[in-house]
Symmetry: C2
Subunit: 592 residues, 2 copies
């Protein structure tokens, strides 16, 4: 009776869990997969990763040290460079009330390539951020000791992001010791620019990601390259019982030079908009963005922005992935309405849609062919009216809505931290965006989404101690396809597929992994991207139909090394074959 | 390996569940408890219950029929009265596009005592609500066929609530066929009153409860009796990505006569405020109120309002109970700030705190001693300024916050529908508010809260078919302590405790049920409220310390008839004894 009660409770919990997102079809425990680890004694916070695919080097920025590792086998260390805080600085930092052992150290936060031989590197340096040039030949710092203010946070606990574009560093961080002055800036000799320090521009932001999107070279618009920033900030436009956070996408133009009088040395092209990640009924609202990956592939019509989100309100361990077309983003900034603030009854500031006349040229627009035709050759020429407007109205009223107007994935009982995406062509020519999403418990989910559904191919326990994954990096070079994950205690290198773990054709096909196919004459499950040529008799079916498998191999046996085959069906449409795993798991239970 | 994986998954799910609310210590399946059922063939929607304690009668309003049952044994039917819709009315209703089989029937929605011999009854009557007098001697209707508009909904699917106060019916419902015109009204020959039909007064409300709170007879204020209404409505003051709902408490004064010119035949005392049910960090927001129970006991300093809530946003099956002191409510209405609406940029209405001068007498206040001293003998005398103000400002800016500024209970994986509360004095003299909370799956949770914690004593499956509990009623008369629950298919009568199910002293004490104690010389677990005298050697410990139990009975064995003893600890502080159930459940698993 007690056991039947247990099963009833199990059913209840699993049922509830299944109702809110797919369960990974298979979970690989840490000991079941061969992952390559890198960690040095006494070194922590492996938070910054940079890959040099052509040199096969993975650069790792940790606390007080920078490593160069063999990216094909990260256990192999090429170089290490200790970059420590002087005892004098450490004492001064401690005098200001910071922890000498934890905070008053040099956390490496920026590792960006300046050219083939030099990296631009910054560290928190006991709350006195500095930047330097790292010579990759000698693996030594040039000793420039530039002031890192505005490029690197003072506080290792604070959010930051940066991207190097044509030798200039764009960064989102905080500008002061207290961390109270947020800034998005460009570090440039010719034209350093920054955001206004004002609530409408940035309101307690947490920066998560930045990247450049190049202008279409074939377009006659002569548009500018754009740098996008992603962050969560305090909402000014919304109110509920408490304060609300809101995910934002903001962008600046690369050719922005600032204004001549108004917005001198400030962005004239800084605009921001809400990133919506909700269900169509708007009852599940994911309003905290944790990470972004921009999928840019030559085969793509346009880049696709992937974001991982969690809710601020009522979050019982709920996460989502939303995807956005770049054209949707561009439309919001180029054609959308602006918001404006209004004072109500002398004491309340409320933000509403601005319905008045919009100055020309359009506030916040890049200098393109049309602007030049109207004789605005640079942002320095822009009229005061346009500049004053963008200074007062940096927030768009239109929102950036996700592809399909709904999340690609909603998952219960998990907090997603990072995402990378790989576009893979399956054997039948269909293209899949394979999402690798890390959790705050050291795991990785590999998932695909298709029309009306979603499948988590596998769950891999990357870190045995269940610590949060802080950084995720994908190498998609042929023959060197790896995932790198950084955490507080180390770096892990993982293959992107575990095809060889599947020992039967049915297993291999039911995994529904676009990387894997069954090679009948060798009777093995292979990674198709590792093969030189695709052969006709390989068997793969992302829909989960294993009926092409030879009869002899279709006897349902659990795959070798499987730690847990989910009892819960995925949310894919039922088919005669993909319900088989349910049968196996019951069998396993009885046999065990 | 598969089994260990299963256990890992189990642990994960249970762990997550335990983090968000206590698990019932014991679950009684429907077949394990003897409950008395009442249901008639072909009769559905047993939604309205009324108890006459002195007559031992439970009146039940269902679809097209009213029953009088023996409240001590509801299987025993005293009377039944079929109250059907005429064929003509049914046809007319169907002609308007409503379902003849489901909607065009007479759903009894109001059963209120007019006097000892007569009930005031109303039904939806095929979308033409009518009311009548039910003679309790003959159990026949008087045939008054009063128009039920404003007292009873047209649509059986719409929310409603009512309370009879000194022979006058106060109700919250909708006033038209479409259900688009909400109303809170008093049905009275002398002074019928109603709300304005305007968004600031009522904005798509869902009514859940109404009750009267009598003025303190000992007070020199000569305050009025007040009728409180509870509902969820569309918020005007808040905005997020979508529309937000908000729980409200509103009140009117019994002596309100309406205004003379302004607010003629309308409430001059209608005020409403937000009911807050959130965690202190405001990240769990429960903004839909499902039911209310007002605990009024002579032993109480002041009434306590208990509400059950669910969140609108990100609700993955999450519920909460919040409790409010009446004095907090009274302070908000008597001393709080008002809200006002303002038009921003010609097209946006925003609600903000009103900081201007407030007319005298205070808008919305009842006529009390002070008002009479200023020569306002009735609401008909009130100055236009006061009336116009309350007409425009029915919403308070101050909110009603819960006792302890946090929910009494937060529970995951459940949707609570109804609540009743019983105040019980334990053997040691401590007073406990025992909460009986029903779910949308036909279950009942019996819970107590104490400082910094909360314990669900037991879960009882009231309805075998897991249907939602629609109504819950408590009889707390000595010797007749029962719970009555109504659903779509029938009514269930349950004892309020199952002490005799515990066969050992340790079981009995670890139940931590204030109703139960161990009677050593009889070796039985008794319901202390059923006994005439309290004896010294009874053993009870609500803290869960069973060390007073005789040594012979302390061998841990699962209680008889237990279907499922939770594997998860409650959130009470660990003690040597109350962790024992964990051991049992493991033992059970192994033995099974």
């Amino acid at each position: 009776m007690a056991l039947s009660g247990l099963y009833a409770a199990l059913g209840l919990l699993f049922g509830a869990a299944a109702a809110f997102g797919p369960v990974p079809r298979i979970t690989w425990e840490h000991r079941e997969v061969q992952l390559v680890h890198f960690q040095e004694p006494e070194v922590f916070n492996y938070s910054t990763l940079l890959l040099s695919d052509d040199k096969d080097v993975l650069y790792v920025g940790a606390r007080e040290v920078i490593f160069a590792l063999n990216s094909v086998n990260i256990a192999e260390k090429h170089h290490e460079l200790y970059w420590k805080v002087t005892e004098d600085k450490k004492t001064k930092c401690a005098d200001k009330g910071k922890s000498k052992q934890m905070e008053c150290l040099n956390y490496v936060r920026v590792l960006q390539p300046l050219n083939d031989d030099v990296l631009y590197v910054c560290g928190t340096n006991a709350f006195q951020p500095i930047c330097d040039h790292l010579n990759l030949m000698s693996f030594e710092l040039r000793g420039k000791n530039e002031d890192g203010k505005g490029r690197c946070p003072f506080d290792p606990a604070q959010s930051y992001t940066s991207v190097m574009v044509d030798g200039e560093l764009y960064s989102g961080t905080s500008y002061n010791f207290l961390g109270s002055e947020p800034i998005i800036s460009r570090n440039s000799h010719q034209s350093p620019l920054r955001t206004e320090y004002a609530i409408p521009w940035l309101n307690e932001p947490s920066f998560v990601f930045a990247d450049v999107i190049r202008a279409d070279q074939n377009s006659t618009e002569e548009d500018d390259d754009k740098v996008y920033f992603f962050f969560t900030e305090m909402s000014v436009e919304y109110e509920f019982v408490g304060k609300l956070m809101i995910p934002r996408i903001s962008r600046v133009c690369k050719r922005d030079q600032g204004g001549l009088r108004t917005l001198q040395k400030k962005w004239t092209s800084f605009l921001k908009a809400r990133l919506i990640c909700t269900t169509p009924d708007k009852n599940l609202i994911f309003n905290i963005i944790n990470d972004v990956f921009i999928l840019k592939s030559p085969s793509l019509k346009e880049p696709v922005i992937y974001g991982v989100f969690t809710p601020q309100l009522n979050n019982m361990g709920l996460s989502a992935v939303c995807a956005y077309n770049l054209s949707t983003v561009e439309d919001v900034f180029a054609k959308g309405k602006y918001m404006q603030s209004a004072t109500v009854e002398q004491s309340h500031t409320k933000w509403v849609r601005y319905n008045g006349e919009i100055p020309k040229p359009r506030p916040g627009a890049c200098i393109n062919k049309a602007a030049r035709a109207a004789n605005y050759m640079s942002s320095l020429n822009l009229p005061d009216k346009t500049l004053q407007f963008v200074k007062d109205h940096p927030l768009m009223d239109d929102s950036v809505t996700p592809i399909g107007d709904r999340p690609r994935l909603i998952k219960r009982d998990v907090r997603y931290t990072q995402i990378v995406v790989d576009r893979v062509t399956a054997l039948n020519g269909s293209v899949y965006d394979v999402m690798f999403i890390s959790t705050d418990k050291g795991a990785l989910h590999k998932a695909i989404s298709y029309e009306n559904g979603m499948h988590i191919i596998e769950e891999i326990q990357l870190f045995p101690n269940f610590e949060p994954v802080q950084t995720l990096l994908l190498s998609s070079e042929k023959g060197k396809r790896y995932l790198y994950a950084g955490s507080n205690s180390g770096v892990v290198q993982s293959p992107i597929a575990f095809c060889d773990k599947y020992s039967t054709c049915v297993d291999c096909v039911l995994a529904r992994d676009p990387y894997c196919a069954w090679k009948s004459h060798e009777a093995s499950c292979i990674n198709i991207l590792k093969e030189d040529e695709i052969e006709r008799d390989w068997i793969q079916n992302i829909g989960g139909d294993a009926s092409s498998c030879p009869a002899s191999s279709s006897i349902p046996f659990p795959p070798t090394g499987t730690s847990f085959l989910s009892c819960v069906g995925s949310d894919s449409p039922p088919s005669p074959t993909n319900t088989m795993p349910d049968v196996w798991s019951s069998t396993e239970l009885v046999m065990a």
